[in-house]
Symmetry: C2
Subunit: 102 residues, 2 copies
DNA sequence: TAAGTATATGAACATATGCTCATATAAAAT
DNA sequence: ATTTTATATGAGCATATGTTCATATACTTA
């Protein structure tokens, strides 16, 4: 068995996969993305549904924004968020479905 | 828009999903699981391929064992590891494939 | 039986993560 | 113009994470 006996992943690929899974690795972000997979939501709505502080939610949305997993539109003072990465939502739903079917 | 306008996830489901994604969120564990998705490997082999210390690899294998994502068999002094959770491997390969196709 | 080989494990340490608290920003309402 | 409402953001803090270093364990070989 030598080091060339199998295919390799580039460091970039591994890093990006890691970033994707990290985004989904936190319960709060899972809940936010699951919510957004069902409907566009204001920050306030997310805050109420998750029963968390506005700041905590906003920080997580900021992270999800940086990862380009969510996008938003503004309407006056209200920001409506929605998901921006179909593939990540698919992966999330796959895992959730698999867990709930056990 | 009220709190009952959409379906909810149980805390247990969210936690288990989080644990699954956390397992895949680290580059070292991604590399190990990817290797094991292709062939059963000894700890030594993993250590050499990943160019990491034996201790670091062993610690990660210990974590993957606790999460029931890998199993092993012993042959004298050598421990051969293989993956134990088909679904997690499927998810990993899906994400890796998606990244590499971009 | 002693030395060597393969792996596991505990402690320590540096970095990352997720929250809170205080405050900033910007539009809306008064 | 001032206050209110909705959201963003920086600093600080406690906990989690991943690695190294030292050492333990267990089997093999001389």
């Amino acid at each position: 068995m030598n080091q060339n006996a199998h295919s390799f992943l580039s460091a970039d690929t591994v890093d990006e996969a890691s970033r994707t899974f990290k985004a989904l690795a936190d319960p709060t972000r899972i809940k936010i993305l699951y919510l957004l997979s069902q409907e566009e939501c204001s920050v306030n709505h997310i805050t109420e549904v998750l029963e968390m502080t506005q700041s905590a939610v906003s920080h997580q949305l900021s992270m999800l924004r940086n990862l380009r997993l969510v996008k938003y539109r503004r309407e006056g003072n209200t920001f409506y968020y929605s998901y921006a990465d179909e593939h990540v939502i698919t992966i999330l739903n796959q895992v959730l479905t698999h867990i709930e079917c056990k």
